[in-house]
């Protein structure tokens, strides 16, 4: 497979740039649903360029934030590359590794505000923590099951209901992990916890925003990869399908999040536990029964 590296590079290049544009699409789409003109599609790119041109300001008393931001960025790039490579080359080991990395990235994402000493970001982050613990466990279990039912990343001979359930649960997990309403409670109650990004500015904010976009892309990409593994199998078609799935999911999630409100911080975990346990139980049962 000599074209493997080429394929991976192409995939990687698109997955590193697409998110900024997809974010622009998200903003434009939101605006359309809200009867506004909205910013141009490349607005996120403009925002990032502007942030990178500003001076570096670190949150009070904190160098940790800087280290963490860069760990966050580099780990995200590694994770997203290995997931791209996994579907291009059909390596379930790389896929496993990328999902584990994703969990670590989520952990850093939550830990970062704690380095800032700002009560508001800490309130925001502790809320996110509760959600993440539940959602990440669900993610790991579901991906584990995905690996179990399709270890070769190639299409099965016949479809079983397990596959549908698997994709559905993955969709839910990834939707929640992408931090949208009703589960964007880190950003909740705008005046009490003005979002956990409150302490960041300049290039540091740029890095964090960009990495967040990568993370959001990654959680959608995983769904695409599992889907591709089950339909087209690995290789160039698989890679293409995962990227298309990622794009479509981005659009679908945008619409979904625009038409609902935000859940309350103490209600959200309860509804999540309910949904996840139902789905995972069903998944295991159907898998064991082989239907």
């Amino acid at each position: 497979m000599t074209y493997g590296p080429v394929l991976v590079s192409i995939g990687l290049a698109s997955v590193l740039t697409l998110p900024t544009l997809l974010d622009g699409v998200e903003r434009k789409l939101k605006a359309a649903i809200q009867s506004r003109i909205g910013p141009p599609i490349h607005q996120t790119l403009l925002d990032l360029t502007k942030l990178f041109r500003k001076e570096l300001v670190l949150p009070r008393e904190s160098m940790h934030t800087l280290y963490m931001a860069f760990t966050y960025l580099s780990l995200s790039i590694v994770a997203i590359s290995s997931s791209i490579a996994s579907i291009a080359l059909g390596s379930i080991e790389l896929f496993t590794a990328s999902v584990i990395l994703l969990s670590i990235i989520q952990a850093i994402h939550i830990a970062m505000p704690f380095t800032t000493y700002n009560p508001f970001s800490i309130v925001g982050a502790s809320r996110e923590l509760v959600l993440a613990v539940i959602n990440e466990s669900a993610l790991l279990i579901t991906v584990g099951l995905a690996i179990l039912v399709n270890p070769l990343m190639s299409p099965p001979s016949s479809w079983r209901s397990t596959y549908f359930l698997l994709l559905l649960e993955l969709l839910i997990v990834s939707y929640i992990a992408s931090g949208r309403t009703p589960y964007d409670i880190a950003e909740a109650e705008p005046e009490i916890a003005s979002g956990w990004l409150i302490e960041f500015s300049g290039p540091l904010l740029g890095v964090i925003i960009y990495t967040n976009l990568l993370r959001k892309a990654m959680v959608k990409l995983i769904v695409g990869i599992v889907l591709a593994g089950l339909t087209t199998g690995y290789g160039s078609m698989g890679l293409l399908l995962s990227l298309i799935a990622m794009t479509l999911l981005w659009v679908a999630y945008t619409v979904a999040s625009t038409i609902v409100g935000r859940s309350r911080v103490d209600v959200a975990p309860k509804t999540m536990i309910f949904i996840h346990t139902t789905f995972i139980t069903l998944l295991i049962v159907t898998h064991v029964l082989g239907v």
């Binding site: 649903i33 809200q34 009867s35 309403t181 009703p182 705008p190 625009t258 038409i259 409100g261 309350r264």
Partner: protein
């Protein structure tokens, strides 16, 4: 209880020295000893509400300070004003806040601004900043408008209790974007107590009032008390002066006032619905409500010349007429918005998160609402049927038939429903009034305002009743006091936030539709105490 019974009962209280009756008010002068029994009689036995109390420096006239307490018997459309004198050297009066909890703030306001002490209660600084020197009372007549006392900035972190966590909200923009400061004490995610510090935007308009403003000019400043419902303030001010001077405003002007007041209510409620949607993370609802509201804003501009700050009122009438083409435009806009907003309202109520988070949160029980004499939609959502438009009809409201929506649950959802229903009623009121509008002039040009007359006026603003109180002076008010609705409603927040999840706090704060700059307002416009003979008898308002 008949009217004469009321008068008899009041006359029966020991220490009542004078009772003057007029069309819509009962003016009582009493000694300090009679204050508590009177409060008991009116507030507890007759079931009156408390509107506010007003300090006044009348040393130049009768060598005394005075306090005016305004009660309202809403069900019979009667205001009861109790005037009590306080000594000029050592002004001190018994506090009635134990009988009338709603009087807590206005007593502290009189203490800050006039130096009148209230015995039998804990005193604290309400209005003046902590760095303000002691013993300097800016509303006293011997305090000149341009003196600036030396103040030093003092940190105002309210209480630091180590055992529980404190979440500060504000001072920049809690809920609505205005400067107020709340300190929530929380255990886990429950709020166990709340402290409030406001009055950061005291705008010192008294300076202008004392040096420059005339009766007509004050009107434009009055409109600027509130950035959302300013027209209610300017109407209320115009009415209070008209009532003091006995000016008969032309009927057509009254109709125009009512129509514009309702248009302002529609835009204000839509604004609030949008803000609540935003707080619930439902930004699409926010944008669409404001899209609908935009029609109303443009309409307001067409009728008055400005989207906001209409500048329509003068003492004696209004400045712009509503002609046929404008009437048609109003009807057209009302048709569009009534369709669109009903559609959007039912959509919003269908959003699961919106319903779930509003139902059962921020409950204000009827007894607490009554004790604090809360006003407006907050009162009506807690089962109190109070609406100045019905209770003390002004402008042209007596010509329209409308419902006063009342809900009994006292939660955030009820407050949403009250406002949604009121938009419907407002649309219908405007249509009815447009149909019946009589021809004729729209203002009285010539009039004189006699000195030393006391008058009160109330207007139902979107947030509740506005009360303006005036003692007329020479060319400008001698004493002008404004009581904005939020002033009456903020103390109720304590009850609404207690034992509720922290996550609901911003929503609950927003649910009273607070207007902090209204509350902080201008405080007062007083004239300088130049030599003049002022007999402070009761004016018949």
């Amino acid at each position: 209880m008949s009217f004469s019974d009321i008068v008899e009962r009041i006359k029966g209280v020991r220490g009542v020295t004078e009772v003057v009756t007029s069309r819509s008010a009962l003016f009582i002068t009493a000694t300090a000893d009679a204050l508590k029994p009177l409060a008991m009689e009116i507030y507890q036995i007759m079931g009156g509400f408390f509107r506010t109390c007003i300090g006044s420096d009348e040393r130049s006239i009768n060598n005394c300070f005075a306090i005016y307490y305004i009660f309202g018997l809403d069900d019979r459309g009667l205001n009861i004003v109790v005037k009590v004198y306080a000594d000029s050297k050592k002004p001190e009066l018994p506090s009635i806040s134990d009988i009338v909890p709603a009087s807590d703030w206005c007593e502290m306001e009189a203490r800050d601004l006039f130096g009148i002490e209230f015995t039998g209660r804990a005193s604290y600084r309400l209005i003046l900043p902590h760095g303000w020197p002691n013993g300097v009372h800016p509303l006293r007549k011997d305090y000149s408008y341009d003196s600036r006392p030396v103040t030093r900035a003092v940190s105002e972190r309210l209480t630091l209790v180590d055992t529980i966590s404190t979440v500060p909200i504000g001072p920049y923009h809690p809920a609505l974007h205005e400067p107020e400061y709340f300190e929530l004490y929380i255990e886990g995610e429950r709020v166990i107590d709340v402290k409030y510090r406001g009055f950061h935007v005291h705008r010192g308009i008294e300076k202008l009032g004392e040096s420059k403003l005339t009766y007509q000019q004050v009107n434009f400043i009055a409109e600027r008390i509130c950035g959302i419902c300013g027209f209610e303030h300017s109407t209320c001010y115009a009415q209070v002066v008209e009532s003091a001077a006995g000016i008969e405003v032309p009927e057509r002007a009254k109709f125009i006032r009512s129509i514009v007041l309702e248009i302002e209510r529609i835009h204000s409620h839509l604004l609030w619905v949008g803000v609540v949607a935003h707080l619930l993370g439902y930004d699409a609802g926010f944008m669409h409500t404001w899209r609908i509201r935009e029609h109303v804003m443009t309409l307001a501009e067409l009728l008055t010349g400005s989207r906001k700050m209409y500048g329509l009122n003068l003492i004696g009438g209004v400045r712009r007429d509503i002609d046929l083409s404008k009437k048609e435009k109003i009807l057209e806009v009302l048709d569009t918005i009534s369709k669109e907003y009903i559609e959007l309202a039912s959509l919003m109520v269908s959003i699961p998160q919106v319903r779930m988070r509003l139902k059962g949160s921020g409950v204000l029980y009827k007894e607490d609402a009554r004790k604090l004499s809360v006003v407006g939609p907050v009162a009506r959502a807690s089962g109190l049927r109070r609406d100045v438009r019905k209770d003390l009809p002004y402008a042209a409201y007596r010509y329209a038939s409308f419902n006063v929506p009342v809900y009994d649950d006292g939660d955030n959802f009820s407050r949403l429903m009250v406002r949604l229903d009121e938009i419907k009623e407002s649309i219908s009121i405007v249509k009815q009034l447009l149909d019946q509008m009589p021809p004729g002039p729209i203002k009285v040009e010539e009039f004189i305002v006699p000195e030393g007359v006391v008058a009160i006026s109330a207007v139902e603003a979107p947030r509740g009743e506005d009360v303006h109180f005036i003692i007329t002076g020479h060319g400008r008010p001698f004493r002008w006091r404004v009581r904005a609705p939020t002033y009456q409603n903020i103390p109720a927040l304590k009850h609404m936030l207690k034992d509720q999840p922290l996550a609901d706090a911003p929503l609950t704060i927003a649910s009273i539709d607070p207007c902090f700059s209204c509350t902080d307002r201008v405080l007062v416009i007083d004239s300088s105490g130049s030599k003049r003979t002022l007999k402070l008898g009761w004016g018949l308002g």
